[in-house]
């Protein structure tokens, strides 16, 4: 009787979804900004507070914007990966120092290394909100036209760099 097979069919469909779901992170909030222009801002530099930086200054280049803070524990895990990447000089890395204190931030960079071409200071987190930041660290890959192409939620790992970020960056440079 075909009708009696309906519960089984529905169940198998459900199992299919659950199996796929096992590989997803339910807490992750993907960014709606991918494919859109990076929100503009003008923020002071961490090292030279009287100087300012805007994303437009990086026009024509493909670059990484990494959101970090000295109070962030996971950033410490991610940091060596960034320092390594900066040494290879493949991709410029710029930092967004999020809701931090200048002195502590600078001390942190001195202690753990500075992979950033420069870091800007987002003291009250407003720019973070513009970028849809909800946790630290987060990293954005922005292309030469100033469009966000990829967002990494959570720490960058060598695997993610190799498999997702660097190939995309290479493709964008062309």
């Amino acid at each position: 009787m075909k009708r009696l097979l309906i519960p089984l069919a529905v169940f198998l469909l459900l199992v299919g979804f659950l199996a796929v779901g096992l590989n997803r992170d339910p807490r992750e909030v993907p960014s709606p900004l991918i494919g859109k222009a990076a929100p503009p801002f003008e923020l002071p530099l961490l090292s030279q507070p009287d100087k300012r930086f805007a994303p437009g200054d990086m026009r024509g280049k493909v670059w990484l914007l990494n959101v970090w803070a000295s109070w962030c524990v996971s950033c410490r895990d991610e940091h060596p990966v960034l320092v390594d990447l900066s040494k290879k000089a493949v991709l410029p890395i710029l930092g967004l120092n999020y809701k931090d204190r200048n002195d502590e931030a600078q001390r942190w960079l001195q202690q753990f290394g500075n992979p950033y071409q420069l870091s800007v200071v987002d003291a009250d987190g407003r720019i973070g909100i513009d970028y849809g930041v909800y946790g630290v660290p987060e990293t954005y890959l922005i292309d030469g036209e100033g469009v966000i192409r990829y967002k990494q939620i959570g720490p960058l790992t060598p695997a993610i760099l190799e498999q997702k970020v660097l190939p995309l960056a290479k493709a964008l440079k062309k």
Binding site: M1, L4, L5, P7, L8, F11, L12, L14, V15, F17, L18, A19, V20, G21, L22, N23, R24, P26, R27, E28, V29, P30
Partner: protein, 651 residues
């Protein structure tokens, strides 16, 4: 030594489970009494060894054996004794062991209370339960071993999560799991009947008390969990439609449908295959819930530490058990002949409608819980589904069910007399309408939704009383089953009334108060006396004092606390609640804002206690119904006579 003993006991239990899950079923199919006879001792043996294993784990916690990884991660030497023992089930591994223990307890109960059942039926039932046990024991032993050692041992443990250091932790999981796992008995009965081809009314009669018992435990377990969240979490909520809560609610909904459907199958032989399907679905939802909570597929405040590998194992097990039973259903259910006739207005049709409504409600909850997952899996974006959705969908679905529940007991089997029922119910309807229209005015604010909720609650209580009164004046005395049903229905009415009243009339304020300052709310005055430091058994607390008066007369002295546990060092709030029959007063401390001033949050919640009171009434109703003499000795003797005849006629 002891952890290894426990580990070994589990391995033995698995071996027994493998035997129990295969040989008796084979024996029943091939009519080999020798194999059939293995079922009961195997089940009893499993219970013994799982109990030993559980005892070993509990002992490790009690004796602070920090060389056991589970103990080191979830306990601490400063933890009070009863919480040290409760920590046995505070982790994924431990709670899973509790789950299996509950399963073996139900198995043991089946071996004891099934003397009147034919041996081959018992063999199949225990066989099915044995297979379930194989799955869970394997899961424990291969992916979630609670006896894993930590060498060198930790000097002390990481402590039990402070939120779990509460009497709720002692009672809620065991009771809840008794409910979850208890549906495995109905499940096993159903599969056994499918395998056997013997889907008759007696199957329903045997299944019913087991199902009701499991339902009672689940009702109490969920109510306890809700109450615990209410007084523990500090912001006065009691149901959040959180995935884990939904995971326990869905089996409850289907379990309720199952109890009602079993009534029809027992009395009239109708809905046989539908009842079997419900029995399969109820336990399947228990299993699905286990998966959802432990696999990391959904976010929840209750979820255990997750591991995709475990998720894959459970999903595989789930697919086998549920898929297998649904396949068996598809294959064998068509062999059941159709049931008897009944009219459009009849007890049968009302119960069928009840089944449909509960099933749809359950499907709606499942849809809402899993929808974010569906969209994410299809790469269609990320949304979140929360209380507003569930409330807007669940309430319209349940309202007709509640209306029907009031009418049902007054409608006869097979062919109901609509005019007579309407006549008898007119007073209940009138009282409900008047109450619904005017009570809100007594509370100070009229709203359509409030009125509707009151209407539903008053209707079902009023009609239950009417049904009892009608029955008492008739020739047949009300049986326990009948009275139990009415009590449970009344419990639902009480529940609906209190939810309506709380949601419509609760009030809250949160303000900054300096010592001596007063805040007024709902006719009460709250004077903040200040905060002082206090030492607890394993924590330090800042205890505030708030004096509550009403028109100058003292009402309560409340002591909300802000605790910092020595080990985990995160601050935790203990709200102070003044429990009253007509309202709860709920006070919690916020932050220290300097100069002795603190932010204080105050709630007044009218009739909120009756939410759980209603649940207790439901459980009592179930207990009354299950203790009906039909399920006790006289009936059993008659059953035995029938069974002997059947057995000899089948031989």
């Amino acid at each position: 030594m002891i952890p290894e003993l426990g580990h070994f006991a589990l391995i033995l239990a698995l071996a027994i489970a493998l035997v129990q899950g295969t040989l008796p079923i084979l024996g029943a199919a091939r009519r080999q009494p020798g194999l059939v006879a293995l079922a009961r001792p195997a089940a009893q043996g499993q219970f013994v060894f799982v109990a030993i294993a559980f005892g070993c784990l509990a002992w490790s916690f009690y004796s602070n054996d920090f060389s056991v990884l589970n103990v080191a991660t979830n306990s601490n030497s400063q933890l009070p004794t009863h919480y040290r023992i409760a920590a046995t089930w505070g982790s994924h591994e431990g709670s899973l062991l509790l789950w299996v223990l509950m399963l073996t307890i139900w198995m043991l109960a089946v071996t004891v209370f099934s003397r009147s059942l034919p041996d081959d039926m018992v063999a199949r039932i225990l066989g099915v339960m044995g297979l379930v046990s194989v799955g869970f024991l394997s899961f424990l032993l291969f992916t979630s071993n609670p006896f894993e050692r930590l060498l060198p041992p930790a000097p002390d443990g990481r402590d039990l999560n402070p939120l779990l250091q509460d009497p709720g932790m002692v009672f809620h999981p065991p009771i809840l799991y008794m409910g979850y796992v208890g549906f495995s008995v109905a499940f096993a009965f159903a599969l056994s009947a499918l395998l056997d081809g013997r889907l008759d009314a007696s199957w329903a009669r045997w299944s019913r008390p087991w199902t009701t018992a499991a339902w009672i435990f689940l009702t109490l377990g969920i109510a306890l969990g809700s109450f615990w969240a209410y007084y523990e979490l500090g912001w006065g909520g009691w149901w959040f439609w959180d995935p884990v809560e939904n995971a326990s609610f869905m089996p409850w909904l289907i379990g309720t449908a199952l109890i009602h459907s079993l009534a029809v199958t027992e009395k009239r032989g109708a809905f046989r295959s539908w009842t079997v399907l419900l029995a399969i679905l109820a336990f399947s939802l228990s299993l699905l819930g286990t998966f959802l909570v432990r696999s990391g597929v959904l976010t929840s405040v209750h979820a255990f530490a997750t591991d995709p590998k475990r998720g894959i194992f459970i999903l595989g097990f789930l697919s086998l058990v549920i898929g297998g039973s649904l396949a068996l259903y598809a294959w064998r259910a068509s062999k059941v002949p159709p049931g008897a006739r009944f009219e459009l207005l009849s007890r049968e049709s009302m119960l069928l409608a009840n089944s449909v409504l509960l099933l749809v409600a359950c499907a709606a909850v499942l849809l809402g819980t899993l929808y974010p997952l569906f969209l994410d899996a299809l790469d269609l974006g990320k949304i979140s589904v929360g209380p507003p959705y569930f409330e807007s969908v669940f309430v319209p679905l349940m309202a007709p069910a509640i209306l029907l529940a009031g009418l049902g007991p007054l409608v006869a089997w097979r062919k109901g007399d609509g005019a007579q029922a309407a006549r008898r119910l007119r007073w209940a309807a009138i009282v409900a309408l008047i109450g619904a229209l005017f009570l809100p005015l007594a509370f100070g604010r009229w709203a359509a939704l409030t009125s509707f909720g009151l209407l539903l609650g008053l209707w079902i209580i009023g009609s239950s009383f009417t049904a009892l009164w009608v029955r008492m004046r008739s020739a047949t005395r009300p049986t326990r089953a009948f009275a139990g049903m009415l009590l449970a229905h009344a419990g639902i009415g009480v529940f609906v009334l209190s939810v309506t009243l709380v949601k419509s009339y609760e009030s809250e304020r949160d303000v900054r108060l300096a010592p001596g300052e007063t805040l007024s709310l709902g006719g009460y005055d709250f004077r903040f006396e200040g905060v002082k430091g206090v030492e607890g058994p394993n924590y330090q607390a800042a205890r505030g004092t708030v004096t509550v008066t009403r028109n100058g007369a003292p009402v309560a002295r409340m002591a909300p606390e802000k605790r910092v546990y020595h080990v985990q060092k995160n601050p935790m709030t203990e709200a102070s609640i003044d429990y009253g029959m007509t309202r709860h007063i709920y006070v919690s401390l916020g932050d220290d804002v300097g100069n002795g001033a603190w932010t204080v949050r105050v709630h007044i919640k009218p009739f909120v206690g009756w939410i759980w009171g209603g649940c207790v009434l439901m459980a009592l109703g179930g207990l009354l119904a299950a203790s009906d003499r039909r399920y006790r000795t006289e009936a059993r003797r008659r059953e035995q006579a029938d069974a002997t005849l059947v057995r000899s006629s089948a031989a």
